[in-house]
């Protein structure tokens, strides 16, 4: 995927035969998907028996058509993939992507390695957003009162309505999520200007409004700073899940990993305070479970300690004791102070006072201008919850005449009933939603947007980095981008392409000096996908100490638990509820799929007497909210006074998944009693003192007699075998090998079990003389973010099997991430993430037992799996020590023809009854080999990137030729931290792992595991 392959369309409009393109593609796919599928059904396959052989011997195969384009664009060669730079719209982070387009249809998104902050990484949501393009439930045309209409009608009627409002000076409100597109913002401003009473209200369902408000108080400007985790040597995070879902996870993961580079011996120290076990907490060097109500006091304590070291005396009264031991806080304060100017305090709280304290800490530590930048702030979250408060007031009084809703779903992601009733008061509600979500179903008009890969758009996620989204395929249906719609309503309708170009000529081009002429600038920007321009000037006042107020009392109240509502990295605020891949993606910590649940600490669960899967009733009758009944999940490392429930579930978009997966006599539905996947907990959100609160509700728990087995991909949680079954004198299994930084610095080899090559019984017949592919995975870098899992799923056409099949332990992911807990004597729960796929063993046990030679070794060291030869004895899987193989228990459905367009034509869609597994993306290896042959060169290091490696934001995966001593992977194989899983079996895996190194002083005690 060299950048030489990247092309751009001057304009989609110039490209002839676009539609034929898609037709062609569709044809090809319709043939590929279903025809394979057909061949797989039993009757036809039975035709292979000898008897029928002669009957069919002389008959011809079904007629196949080959339909060329009428007129073929220069750069298009059927069968070759092109990469178009664009910008991801999976969330507001605005990461750069390359859309892989094959025969006219995008089939995969990959991170753009040249993008300034995402740097080639792409998260699970981003990877999976390609499926949204081929979502057959996406709206195909405008709706009026829920009925099909066309754009002329919709525009005419809306415009006449707006005209009347203008004349009556009615109130128009534009309710959106954070909009990072300058062109859209400009168009919207222009549109709103034409009304006497109009306002743009932006909110984020996963709100960070408190941070901006805090900066309003401390620095006089409402902004979201740009955090640089790579510059921080000490990171103190107060419930900020910055590796998982907070603001810009990919960017932060990349930076965080850069800050913990063992090869360069620079390793940041990361302390996490949080009520539940988050992805970020799982990577922390020191982690404290803190009840949400204690954060204020905790911050106050820390502030006092740091201030003391700064020689500042604060005349604050003595606050309550914090739940975190004093000496730990002292130690942290010391570390922070020692690393002042090179440290970072982040806070995910929605209490403005707490955010102010965090700012004060950073101020005391002199982190501004270092790890925190204010002058090119982040624009990734601009929501303002105060506006939201005033808006709902207006709505309830019926003051608003017209409400436009874009990019958010208030009827779902805000306290539902209240908002639904408020929205129903609006005379004209217009939604731009792509799908029939809760709000769209209330709207008078739905004027759907196309998928972001189908329209021109731009993004300025971080001030100074303007990036472009270019369409990679025609809209399949009558959809129209917001930019175009607004231009129509502003009375000068134009194509999105022209609009964007004009805007950039006028507003972006002037902000840079490099390119003298606009066309060159435009071409380069479209080619690269982004342009670095001068950031908009922001004026910040010096830190305002008056804003800082201590929080002395923790709002704890006995005999009730705090309900913590959190986003999962698959569902986020519910925007991904349409996406089966993300529903089936195991949660990185709990490994649960297809559900949200009430997670409890082991102690609390014990007290309630509930086990995993027992349904518990969450009761907040104090706030007269309706009860919530969810299955319990026991989560080590969670605070005892906390019950945590994921947001984003129970969306009506998930009703379609009732019958996903194979249907047979014992199959269960993938949805709950409500006909949806999970339940919506948003009604427990609180809009209080100007901020959406996620953890302020106190609830009572009671257990019901009901049960719901959770579809969990991993039921055993530690490397320790159960106590009573543990053989005398055996420790934890050395699957994940780890050590402490102290030990590592003494001896880089520490923690690695001895791994000399074992003797072979026979001289080997197999010299791997050409390239020999191998992989190294840095467990210390891996955060378990699971983007590799989805990347692998997209690349390799891995089917979705549905909740029931996952419950039966039959998920198909070739790449899984094993998660193991271990508890140190001070009660600290450690987590290790271990990505595991087929290990491509040199002495592969699976190969010896296959009777039909369906899995054998290639001369470049791959453990090949030949689907069409496999008869499905499953002997290989039984004999695989890593259980890296997956079996097609059924025909997994591929009957959604639109969705089939996402299938990768380079990978066979496997039939029922055959074994499948990871082969290091052999299709990419072959492509690279063939291309190299064509150019008469060798395959250079890095020319082959596996899908998992490509997407990894932490760059934890190295892949390449082990026979080339200079390749990165063979260098990594020499790394003293390298070990192999189950070395003692002498199956000789081609995958190496690098030990986990925790930034701690005390020597690692292996016995602590468990």
């Amino acid at each position: 995927m060299s950048s030489g392959n990247k092309h751009y369309w001057k304009a989609l409009e110039e490209k002839e035969g676009g539609p034929e393109f898609l037709m062609d593609a569709a044809q090809d796919l319709v043939e590929r998907g279903p025809r394979q599928f057909g061949r797989r059904d039993f009757l036809k396959a039975a035709g292979f028996t000898v008897g029928v052989a002669f009957a069919t011997g002389c008959s011809r195969a079904p007629l196949q058509k080959a339909i060329p384009l009428l007129s073929q664009p220069e750069e298009i060669v059927p069968g070759r993939s092109l990469f178009y730079a664009s910008t991801c719209s999976g969330c507001n982070a605005g990461c750069g992507v390359l859309a892989k387009v094959r025969d006219g249809r995008p089939i995969k998104l990959e991170g753009n390695p040249e993008h300034p902050f995402s740097q080639g990484g792409l998260c699970a949501t981003g990877q999976a957003s390609i499926l949204g393009l081929y979502d057959s439930h996406r709206l195909q045309h405008p709706l009026k009162q829920g009925n099909k209409t066309d754009w002329e009608v919709a525009d005419r009627e809306i415009l006449t309505h707006l005209a009347s409002i203008r004349s009556q000076h009615g109130a128009v409100r534009f309710l959106t999520g954070t909009i990072t597109s300058p062109s859209v913002l400009a168009a919207m401003q222009e549109f709103l200007k034409s009304f006497s009473d109009s306002r743009h209200v932006a909110y984020d369902p996963l709100s960070n409004s408190a941070i901006l408000d805090a900066y309003q108080q401390t620095h006089g400007t409402r902004l979201l700073p740009h955090f640089h985790f790579e510059k921080a040597e000490v990171i103190a995070s107060f419930d900020a899940d910055f590796l998982g879902t907070w603001i810009s996870p990919v960017e932060f993961t990349t930076a965080y990993r850069a800050g913990r580079n063992l090869e360069e011996k620079r390793v940041s120290y990361h302390v996490q305070f949080e009520p539940r076990m988050s992805l970020t907490g799982s990577k922390a060097d020191r982690r404290f479970a803190v009840a949400p109500c204690d954060f204020g006091v905790l911050l106050t304590h820390l502030t006092r300690l740091v201030a003391k070291r700064a020689g500042i005396s604060l005349d604050w009264a003595e606050p309550d004791a914090s739940s975190v031991p004093r000496n730990c806080l002292d130690e942290l304060a010391d570390r922070l102070w020692r690393a002042r100017g090179r440290s970072l305090v982040v806070c995910g709280s929605q209490a403005i006072q707490e955010q102010v304290l965090a700012n004060y800490l950073n101020h005391l530590l002199g982190n501004y201008g270092a790890a925190i930048e204010l002058d090119n702030p982040s624009l990734q979250a601009q929501g303002n919850d105060q506006d939201l408060e005033s808006l709902i007031a207006e709505l309830q009084t019926g003051k608003v005449d017209t409400l436009f809703v874009y990019g958010v779903n208030p009827a779902f992601d805000l306290p539902g009933d209240r908002w639904r009733e408020a929205l129903s008061k609006v005379p004209l509600l217009v939604s731009f939603s792509q799908r029939m979500d809760e709000t769209a179903s209330l709207a008078g008009y739905v004027v759907p947007e196309p998928h972001f890969l189908q329209s021109w758009n731009d993004t300025e996620a971080v001030s100074g980095i303007a990036s472009i989204s270019q369409p990679t395929v025609h809209p399949f249906a009558e959809t129209r981008s917001l930019l175009e719609t607004l231009s129509v309503w502003n009375g000068k309708s134009n194509s999105g392409y022209e609009l964007l170009r004009d805007f950039w000529r006028a507003r972006v081009f002037p902000r840079q000096k490099k390119e003298p002429n606009f066309d060159a600038f435009w071409d380069r920007s479209v080619h690269d996908g982004y342009a670095e321009v001068a950031p908009a000037v922001v004026k910040t006042k010096p830190f305002d100490l008056r804003a800082v107020q201590p929080i002395l009392r923790s709002s704890a109240n006995a005999n009730s638990l705090a309900l913590v509502l959190y986003p999962t990295l698959s569902m986020l605020d519910g925007r991904n509820a349409y996406n089966p891949w993300l529903h089936e993606l195991p949660d990185p910590i709990s490994k649960v799929t297809w559900d949200n649940y009430a997670s409890l600490s082991p102690a609390t669960a014990k007290k309630l007497g509930v086990n995993n899967g027992d349904i518990i009733r969450i009761d907040a009758s104090a706030k007269n909210l309706k009860q919530l009944e969810l299955p319990a999940y026991i989560q080590p490392g969670q605070h005892d006074d906390v019950v945590a429930v994921a947001l984003g579930y129970g969306s009506r978009l998930s009703s379609r998944f009732a019958k996903v997966g194979p249907q047979w006599i014992d199959a269960l539905l993938s949805v709950g009693e409500n006909g949806l996947v999970g339940q919506n907990a948003a009604s427990y959100l609180e809009l209080k003192d100007g901020a959406l609160r996620y953890a302020s509700t106190q609830v009572a728990l009671s257990r019901t007699e009901k049960q719901r087995e959770l579809a969990c991909t991993q039921i055993h949680n530690t490397l320790n075998v159960p106590e009573k079954l543990r053989p005398a004198g055996s420790g934890p299994r050395s699957i994940v090998q780890e050590t402490t930084l102290a030990a590592f610095l003494k001896d880089p080899h520490s923690g690695v079990e001895d791994d000399e090559e074992k003797e072979d019984l026979w001289p080997t017949d197999h010299p791997y003389a050409g390239p020999r592919w191998g992989m190294v995975i840095d467990l210390n870098a891996c955060t378990g973010c699971s983007s590799c899992v989805i990347a692998c799923q997209v690349e390799n056409n891995i089917p979705v099997v549905g909740r029931d099949e996952v419950r039966r332990n039959r998920e198909m992911h070739w790449m899984r991430i094993d998660r193991y807990y271990s508890e140190s004597d001070d009660g600290q729960v450690d987590v290790a993430h271990q990505p595991l796929m087929c290990q491509q063993c040199e002495n592969a046990p699976c190969e010896t037992v296959c009777p039909v030679l369906a899995t054998v070794h290639s001369e470049d060291g791959l453990n090949q799996q030949v689907y069409n030869r496999c008869v499905g004895t499953r002997y290989c899987a039984n004999n695989c020590p890593y259980k890296g193989r997956r079996f097609n228990w059924f025909n997994y459905s591929h009957d959604d023809h639109l969705q089939n367009l996402v299938l990768n034509p380079d990978v066979t869609v496997r039939s029922r009854g055959v074994m499948e597994k990871c082969t290091f993306c052999v299709q990419r290896i072959q492509e690279a080999k063939i291309e190299a042959k064509r150019r008469g060169e060798n395959v250079v290091d890095g020319a082959v990137q596996t899908a998992c490696q490509q997407s990894c934001p932490a760059h934890a995966i190295y892949f390449g030729d082990l026979n080339d001593p200079n390749s990165r992977v063979s260098k990594m194989m020499q790394n003293p931290r390298r070990y192999r899983v189950l070395e003692e079996l002498n199956v000789r895996p081609a995958v190496g792992y690098l030990t986990v190194v925790r930034n701690r002083d005390q020597e690692s005690k292996e016995e602590q595991h468990g």
């Binding site: 063993c841 002495n843 010896t848 001369e859 000789r988």
Partner: protein
């Protein structure tokens, strides 16, 4: 050409054995003895040569084993050598089980077929019984008139003294 046969029918194996021994002393030509089960000692009494079946079977067994071990070696090491689990192309030890099975198969099938062949047993063959009941509870000793020394009355007497329950004389026109 026709033959003159004397059939002595007995009730139990002891009498049959005695009769056989007597007839051989007297030098009568014993055509065959018919019995409902394999009477022990008859072999010696009739002085039959031991069967040569074992040798045939042995040869076939060797053949089967040889063919199979060659086939396995040829397919896995010569015709299409494949790297299976890092094992050498010629994994001789792994070839032994199948070789053994095929050896047994060849030997066993060979034994049965050659048995049918030498005994001229085949479906639909017309059964020739000297007397009714030799497949139930009768034993029949069949003598053939060879030369003038052969004295029918003497045969008759001998049979009676050895308590044959019934003696009969048969002329057959079966071709030699």
């Amino acid at each position: 050409m026709s033959k003159r046969l004397f059939v002595g029918v007995f009730e139990n194996e002891q009498d049959t054995l005695a009769a056989v021994r007597a007839s051989r002393q007297r030098g009568f030509k014993i055509v065959d003895v018919y019995a409902p089960y394999a009477v022990h000692g008859l072999e010696e009494a009739m002085g039959l040569a031991p069967s040569r079946l074992p040798w045939i079977v042995f040869a076939l067994g060797l053949l089967g084993a040889g063919l199979k071990v060659w086939f396995e070696f040829w397919t896995t090491a010569i015709d299409w050598p494949v790297n299976v689990g890092g094992k050498p192309f010629n994994s001789l030890p792994a070839f032994i089980p199948v070789t053994f099975e095929v050896m047994v198969l060849f030997a066993a099938v060979g034994a049965v077929l050659s048995f049918f062949f030498v005994c001229r047993l085949f479906p639909g063959k017309r059964t020739l019984l000297p007397v009714i009941g030799v497949t139930d509870d009768r034993f029949a000793l069949v003598l053939e008139e060879t030369d003038s020394r052969f004295e029918p009355t003497e045969v008759q007497k001998m049979f009676e003294t050895l308590h044959a329950i019934h003696v009969e004389e048969q002329i057959t026109a079966e071709p030699e």
